[in-house]
């Protein structure tokens, strides 16, 4: 069975157009080439990395919880990572790792662990799990606001920046390092593509074909948490990319993870590059938070899937 199709060439074409647009469009038209290299290239690379990370994480979480509405943002994992990152940055930990936050990883793993426990402990329905995730998200965001308000009365304002997503901190080598990490982790998840396929069919079936479920669970949680932590510590919370992109990718060809994971990485990066280009150019010299742009497109998409699922049930 051929996994990749002609539509995937379409994704590749959109990718190149998006990169071109992102480098050409900005707050100003007369910017030297040197400044474009300095400012727009890292930003485009970071958008690619973050979009890829969120989409791949979304695709894995959807397979894992067998629910198309799962993604780091709706499940609250992003929020856990944000809380971790904010606490870490007040403790001065983030400066040591190119701005990547080890405490964001703890936050993401912690919140994923809670979700996992909830999904294992009782036979909870898919929508209950989702609601638990949404509540975890609220909880995390509220703690972020509290923490920032304690640290600095004006901190609530920067908390809002975190909570709505912002790629403006993209800088030189950090952006490339981030991209490299995301590619490597996606590769690690790719090694499990057959198990993820089996999981989508059902746990018993997966067991029957010899998938080590416990091991897969640990790896999936760990790798997706790393992806989310990387995305969040450099750009705050950006929602719905991890929801919309895997849906589009699955809808545009084979649903085997051998194809879904790499195409999600490519398409997710592309989508976030486009969203960020819009965010930083429509009301220039002011910027929209990029999370606002993704939410305006993503939230209606979420509702549409929800209604279609209800209709099918």
């Amino acid at each position: 069975m051929r996994a990749f199709g002609r539509r995937d060439l379409g994704w590749l074409a959109i990718f190149f157009v998006a990169i071109g647009a992102s480098l050409a469009i900005g707050a100003t038209r007369d910017l030297d080439w040197a400044w474009i290299l300095e400012l727009r290239v890292p930003r485009t690379v970071l958008a690619l990395a973050v979009g890829a990370a969120l989409s791949v994480a979304g695709a894995v979480l959807q397979a894992f919880f067998k629910n198309p509405l799962c993604e780091p943002y709706t499940l609250g994992v992003s929020s856990g990572a944000t809380l971790g990152a904010v606490i870490g940055s007040t403790l001065g930990l983030n400066a040591l790792f190119f701005g990547l936050s080890p405490s964001a990883l703890f936050g993401a793993v912690g919140f994923s662990g809670i979700l996992l426990a909830v999904s294992r402990s009782r036979r909870v329905s898919a929508s209950t799990l989702l609601l638990v995730g949404v509540m975890l998200g609220f909880l995390g965001s509220s703690f972020v606001a509290v923490w920032m308000a304690i640290g600095d009365p004006m901190g609530v304002q920067s908390a809002i920046g975190w909570l709505l997503g912002d790629l403006s901190r993209a800088e030189g080598a950090n952006a490339w390092i981030t991209l490299a990490i995301v590619v490597a982790v996606t590769g690690a998840l790719y090694a499990d593509h057959r198990s993820l396929d089996a999981l989508l069919v059902g746990e018993e079936e997966a067991n029957a074909v010899g998938v080590d479920l416990a091991g897969l669970r640990t790896r999936a949680i760990l790798w997706t948490s790393i992806l989310v932590a990387v995305a969040v510590s450099l750009s705050g919370m950006i929602g719905f990319v991890g929801l919309v992109v895997p849906q589009l990718v699955r809808g545009s060809g084979s649903t085997l993870h051998r194809r879904v994971l790499p195409v999600c990485a490519l398409a997710g990066g592309t989508v976030l590059v486009i969203a960020d280009t819009i965010a930083r150019s429509v009301i220039a010299p002011y910027e929209l938070p990029v999370g606002v742009v993704t939410a305006i497109v993503g939230a209606p998409f979420f509702i549409a899937i929800l209604l279609r699922k209800r209709g099918a049930a």
Partner: protein, 311 residues
Amino acid sequence: MRNRRLETVFLAAVLLAGAAESRAATPEYHVVDAVGADVHFVRTPKRIVPLQPSLAELAVRVGAPIEAIVGVSAYTDFPLELKKKPSIGSYAKPNLEAILALKPELVLAGRDGTPKEIVARLGKLGIPVVTVATETLAGLREAYRVVGAALRRSTEATAALAEFDGELAALRKRAETRTKAGNSAKVLLQVGEDPLVVAAGKTYLNEGLGVIGATNVYADPEQTYPRVSIEDVLKKDPDAIVLVGMGDDVAQFSRAEKRWKSYPKLAAARAGRIVLLRSDSLVRPGPRFPGGLVELERAVYGAKAAEGGKP
């Protein structure tokens, strides 16, 4: 032979020109700013981008020509000609691309207002950034000196600062007269209504109250702009409530004004000292601040007492 001489003349000319040029380039100077950064200049900056309205006012006040200000932040409107300059975004989130496109030779930043990442990145990209701390009167006075030095207009800066000091001295003198007469007001400075936010002890507005001989009912020196409750304000019972209007939202302050006036037990309501004061001079810690304090003085003590008469 002839050729030889020509050559010598030519060489001498080249050397002289070189010397002249190097002399023109040498007046290299440097300025240490409010965050301790040592900023070097090869020549007087002719393209200046102030990242806050108050810094634009200060630059012009110490003698920067209007045409040297090549870009400004949102709400910069004094002097009025600056309103037409290209915008670099808001003071809280300046746009790096927009700043760089203006090819600035000097960027003026605020220590507490401008995001630190922006200052750091501009510095890394080789743009001279001078940071000043205008959140206290001492810092604002120092900013005159620093900005004056960066623009090589120290004489003008000294003169402008003397004028600024003179205006403050006149205000302090009137305050002293009032205090001796036993007229010193407890004031609430409200800067936001929804939520209710006040200026507390760690602000330049609080310092301004000191200059006009009034005290802040929220004088906690650790607090800047805390949220407070209506109940607590009623308990503190200020002699005057000044609604310091910022931005364009007048409606919320009119609402606050109406609310405070509806509590007849409030001393400020009885005395008719609930005042909506929309004054850019007062809210921008810049050269017009003493003028803003004159307005505040009038709001707190009434026109007569402000002019030195009896309350």
